[in-house]
Point group: C2
DNA sequence: GGGATTCGCGTAAACGCTTTCTGCGAATGA
DNA sequence: TCATTCGCAGAAAGCGTTTACGCGAATCCC
């Protein structure tokens, strides 16, 4: 079953069949219709590889993510795929699982498949591998870890604004003893969020006295929170670098017999699906996967159009208030000042 | 950059280069070494499409799942990919998102790419689409929804054993008023779990009086549990058809001001990652994604070997006891009988 | 030592499509 | 009426591999 059989059946040449498949305008409606019918009757599917080989275009985009096991990413993958499919493109997903060695293989596979562009949605990536793409003139888009230049665009997430909204909310509830559980400091994105937090408190004249490092996963959040609770003094509110961390923190707090938000308020970051269903539901800063995916795809797409010119795109996070945040407890340092704030 | 340039540089024919790439034994170590060097020096990657086109083999496996947003699946995808990559194969993932219309496109894409086999890890699938695969002699493996025949294998999950272990555990804790939140009844897998539950209780002479239908997602579990709690009498323990459902149920219980496990015990099914970190940590029946992926891949792989002969494989779930289950509360119907059971 | 066999490698024909080039008939203009 | 243009469709040359086939040299067996 190939294009030749279709051609024979429609009594045209293979070229004409190809042209109708690719909806070229150089074919009369009648012929087109005849070919369409032949295709239907034979149940013909064009062979993707032969197409790519012949045309030099793959209609394939690469998507590199850190760890498909973190719920943030499947949602991103899903959105990205949806958009790609709508545009008749395919997606090759590579999850490097925080393992630089695997990365090598992922990149190689993408190169072998001659992807038309790659969305690199992971924070750290070997510069050498990036060069591999660039030297082959493959468009790239980064998530907050790159710069707009020839053939590469960058999506910058306004973490500062997100963190600021969270702190604003917390402070508005009367908290002044505010902690932070960061991601792994080896990750740039984690460092950025941490800096944003510190800067945010400084601007308000609050000291950043309770900072612990997590690993952006549940266990790390749990352990970091446990360390925070083990200190002589403890914060009345804690921001986490992502929701997984916040969920871990929730667990550690409950284990100590404390209540959220009565004793401690918790704020996450990302707004993964599960966050709406934790006990209590998590107040968090939403980072829309759908939006990121859309922007990333558009970025890749338009690099081709604009003769390789890259651009910078912005994405704004938004605070989602649920049940894990409440007024600062009385008796805590914050409580003393509360009447002043309210009046 | 293609095989010809490599051939020229190594002063051999393209056939020899191809042979060394495919590690054929029909080439002397010296020549092989010379070719390898040329490949290194040129940084040559063979073009996947041309290979597939030339050989007729794609080294590509399809993986069809219901909904990548359910944490059960990303873990499955990840395992499957890992195994595939280890065997130098690729994976094309299609998530149909419970939407039969999208399914069509997924299947089409797989056919166009001439996948070497497809793992269908979703419960319901249009028979016509399956025929599409079969008529093209593509090996298939189902997850508990098919039968072993020519070119197709089936993985059967012993749901009955899993549910039985859960019920055993619950009954051992003195519960006799046991409820169940099923998945959507239009899904075969959901029906199977439900039947297993009912059969299980019958064998013990317990009535299955509290059954509600969920949708295998958190909101469905929440609503179903709310309905259960709204009845005149309520169970002291509830099994859920999957963990997402159980998590939703947990939320509904807390909203009513009841405690888990003091007032109601909850058991999930699947053991997704997050279940270890809910409040309280979920007692559940583990269904190993890693094992399913491994078996599925092996099944697909061996269909090729064994001249298209399909087989049946078994997977055993295992109970994981955490904190969401405890002794039946006194005062409940169960409590009356408890001393009898204990003595 | 001569014919049969094996071995290593090159030649060239697929594989299924795209795309450029070319040709042909019809429409248009003078 | 003939020359020119134009739109449509066919012929054929790729695209980068794999692989059947074949050839010469080396090896083997009696």
């Amino acid at each position: 079953m190939n294009i030749r059989e279709v051609a024979r059946r429609a009594k045209v040449s293979t070229a004409t069949v190809s042209r109708t498949i690719n909806s070229s305008d150089k074919v009369t409606p009648e012929t087109k219709e005849r070919v369409q019918r032949a295709i239907e009757e034979l149940g013909f599917y064009p062979n993707t590889w032969a197409r790519a080989l012949g045309s030099g275009r793959s209609n394939l985009y690469g998507l590199i993510i850190s760890d498909i096991t973190n719920p943030f990413f499947p949602e991103l993958v899903k959105s990205f795929e949806d958009i790609a499919v709508q545009n008749e493109q395919e997606v090759l997903v590579a999850n490097k699982s925080y393992d630089p060695a695997r990365m090598e293989g992922c990149v190689r596979r993408m190169l072998q498949r001659k992807v038309d562009g790659v969305a690199i949605m992971t924070s750290e990536m070997d510069a050498r591998l990036i060069t591999e793409f660039q030297s082959r003139e493959i468009p790239l888009v980064f998530l907050d870890t790159g710069k707009a230049e020839k053939l590469t665009s960058n999506i910058v997430v306004d973490y500062a604004a997100g963190v600021d909204a969270a702190v604003e909310h917390i402070v508005g509830l009367g908290h002044t003893d505010i902690g932070f559980i960061s991601g792994p400091m080896m990750l740039r994105s984690a460092r950025v969020r941490r800096e944003a937090f510190i800067g945010c408190l400084e601007r308000r004249g609050i000291g950043a006295d309770w900072i612990e490092e997590g690993n952006h996963q549940v266990d790390g959040g749990h352990d970091a929170m446990a360390r925070l609770l083990g200190r002589k003094t403890r914060p009345t509110a804690v921001l986490a670098s992502n929701d997984m961390t916040a969920i871990g923190a929730l667990g550690a707090i409950h284990e100590r017999g404390l209540r959220v938000p009565e004793d401690i308020s918790i704020v996450g970051f990302d707004d993964i699906q599960i966050s709406a269903f934790t006990q209590p539901a998590l107040t968090t800063v939403r980072l829309s996967r759908e939006e990121i995916a859309r922007v990333a795809f558009r970025a890749l797409y338009s690099i081709r159009q604009d003769a390789g010119k890259g651009a910078e795109y912005g994405v704004q996070p938004a605070l989602v208030v649920r049940r894990s945040t409440g007024r600062a407890p009385r008796g805590a340092g914050a409580a003393e000042r509360e009447p002043v704030l309210v009046s």
